[in-house]
Subunit: 409 residues, 2 copies
């Protein structure tokens, strides 16, 4: 009975070759060292949520709904959670029937499930360049060919997508984070939203709109969500992670009838249903008197930190560096002076006790070496100043060296 | 801007064709009618968990760990939850390094993730006939070819698997619920466990052992888990859903190094991480003084209901019917007298206010029409007697009709 020969490693699926550790993940362990200022993570700062608010909501769920909270529920989610999600979407101009809302384990499970339903190996999928690293990971499991359409301060350069379509390219869907994008921090303009909507409808290509940050706008008027402009052709993904907390893993998606049912069946095969306890807690919180003031608290906090980061970048980053000026969300996207490589510099940056995510993580094709994502969501104002100072010092030295090398060459 | 032409339905992945509603799911709505005795569901009876125990544990998490409970965590899970899972596995003879334990959204997400890492379209996978319907659903998304190996009262007929191997069949893995299987309620004998282990090792075929019910043994001595017999070649899947509650969606898997890391990266792409709040609650509960007595309470409850179901079957089912005698778990698997079709009879059964799951749900190939799964986990003893009486009445009438038709033919 006792095995005598070594067991060879079993053959895996072709997709398993693509299941490599992401750059973001490898960084989490580094960035958690207490002396390192992490500008790398994308964690909402739940430390500002009053503990007594959460305790009250959780106690209410235990007191009133324990039987349901402990049990399995239907795969689409609990009625009050689907309704609460529809109410949050309504705040962004979306008229979603709760019966057409699928509760998922954060927005991430919705990304995985959408990809599972749409993508065969070799299918084309359009993402933004740069795009959310978690979406690239989720889609990669279904082995598509990625096309990354560039972005500027007005979001995705939709005319570049139009050229792809004109050249005959027909992706299975176009993925976008139109508001306060991760990682670029930019927002798609109204004109481009209209153009994207008409272009995709014309060519029969669905849009997947991922909008975790839409309610975290610091200034200016909200723009219409893509889903509100064309509900039939837009699969919308939302999340409670940034407006409340990620720890319950509650997100959602809504899609046209016919597609909704496919997403539901796929989601059920993935985990049967999302946590009933988490769903009831999120529904009760979103509908409580705590939601609005705490959301305002998040906004004030992130606005202050965004301002701190922009001021610190102005003060400490070298000439030739660029950065976006987000009007909401979590992230600034910085471009380095000529010749600098964010990936290569990361070990030295960590040595100097500051971390960021190199831009290459956000492209499916190796681009982004001269970019970095800087998060202002979690570090305090003091940490942001100190972290950007440390990073600026490193970049200025490197720029000086690059300049003197260029001069002596 | 306003769309003028109808939007055609977008092309989906090939796998989406298989994403149809399961028979079990369609039944949930029927079975939830209050006048119907449902012998269909697989819900643990969390109603017996004392509310004050759960309230105490949840309050402790909120008081001591709120910051972590509300936040994202590492994709593999929180340290204490991975340790608690290892402790539960140790109770079943498994020596798992907590660093090699992946926390998942119930055992279901582990099934999905294992299939994602192993299966390319057209690959063969061996399941038991009958097998857990949720495993068939999860695997189907990766488009394998199923082979169902028959079962008897000693579990999977391993010699039939040996014949397949001898004929050159090399599945990517063999999936089994060796203890108190869903739906058959049978347990693989020790001899067959040893044979399965040596056979699969000899042919380099990994085993996926799904063991949600192992700790719910009503009588007799525990048999060694497959993982404890060959840790290197067995991917083990466990769950807190049946020994505590499903509502937090906490399950786990452990696999050999190299494979573990692939599962981890795949899981991260699916949902980033499992609910930290749920993980902390499950870890605290499993390690509390409430776990052992409440598990004993579950056991006493399910044993009594198993006994009630076996007595009711003896009293009410027609001659020619067969059923298994489970020594643990949730399910009895019944065979109908010649010529009766459990799927065809279901609408009439529901009309008579009793529900079950027709056997066809548990085969990937349309077999099982003369079988039904009867659950004793959730209905009370009184409901079990009444439900089996209603069902027996229907079956006796049908058997009589079939007999007289046969006589007159």
């Amino acid at each position: 009975m006792q095995p005598v020969q070594p067991l060879p490693f079993p053959p895996l699926a072709a997709r398993a070759a693509g299941l490599s550790e992401s750059e973001v993940r490898a960084l989490f362990s580094v960035a958690s060292r207490p002396d390192v200022v992490s500008l790398a993570g994308g964690m909402p700062d739940v430390r500002i949520l009053p503990a007594e608010h959460v305790a009250e909501i959780v106690a209410r769920v235990v007191r009133r709904e324990l039987g349901r909270a402990l049990q399995y529920c239907g795969g689409a989610g609990l009625p009050e959670t689907r309704e609460a999600a529809a109410e949050l979407m309504a705040m962004e101009g979306i008229h979603a029937d709760p019966g057409n809302v699928l509760i998922t384990a954060g927005g991430q499970q919705a990304l995985d499930t959408v990809a599972k339903v749409f993508l065969d190996p070799g299918d084309r999928v359009v993402v933004e360049g740069p795009s959310y690293v978690g979406a690239i990971s989720a889609f990669s499991a279904y082995e598509p060919r990625f096309l990354a359409v560039g972005m500027d301060d007005d979001g995705m350069i939709v005319e570049d997508l139009a050229e792809l379509f004109a050249g005959g390219v027909r992706p299975k869907f176009v993925y976008t984070v139109p508001s306060f994008s991760n990682p670029a921090g930019v927002t798609m303009s109204y004109t481009r939203r209209l153009r994207l909507i008409s272009l995709c409808r014309e060519h029969g290509v669905p849009i997947v709109e991922d909008n975790p940050y839409g309610m975290l706008r610091f200034e200016g008027e909200p723009l219409p969500t893509l889903h509100s402009l064309d509900p039939e052709n837009v699969v919308y993904i939302g999340s409670a992670s940034k407006v409340f907390a990620p720890g319950f893993r509650v997100g959602w998606t809504t899609a046209r009838p016919g597609l909704f049912e496919r997403l539901l069946v796929a989601k059920e095969a993935e985990d049967l249903c999302s946590s009933a306890f988490g769903q009831l807690t999120v529904a009760a919180y979103v509908r409580s008197e705590h939601f609005a003031p705490n959301l305002a608290g998040y906004l004030a906090l992130y606005r202050e930190r965004r301002d701190a980061m922009l001021a610190a970048l102005e003060a400490h980053f070298p000439e030739g560096a660029t950065w976006t000026r987000p009007r909401g969300g979590f992230y600034v996207w910085a471009g380095l002076p000529d010749g600098l490589d964010a990936k290569a510099l990361l070990p030295e940056a960590v040595e100097r006790r500051v971390a960021y995510v190199p831009g290459t993580a956000f492209y499916p094709d190796g681009r982004g070496r001269d970019r970095m994502r800087l998060s202002f969501c979690y570090p305090t104002v003091g940490e942001i100043h100190e972290g950007v100072r440390r990073l600026g010092e490193l970049l200025c030295e490197q720029t000086g060296e690059a300049a003197s090398e260029a001069a002596s060459a």
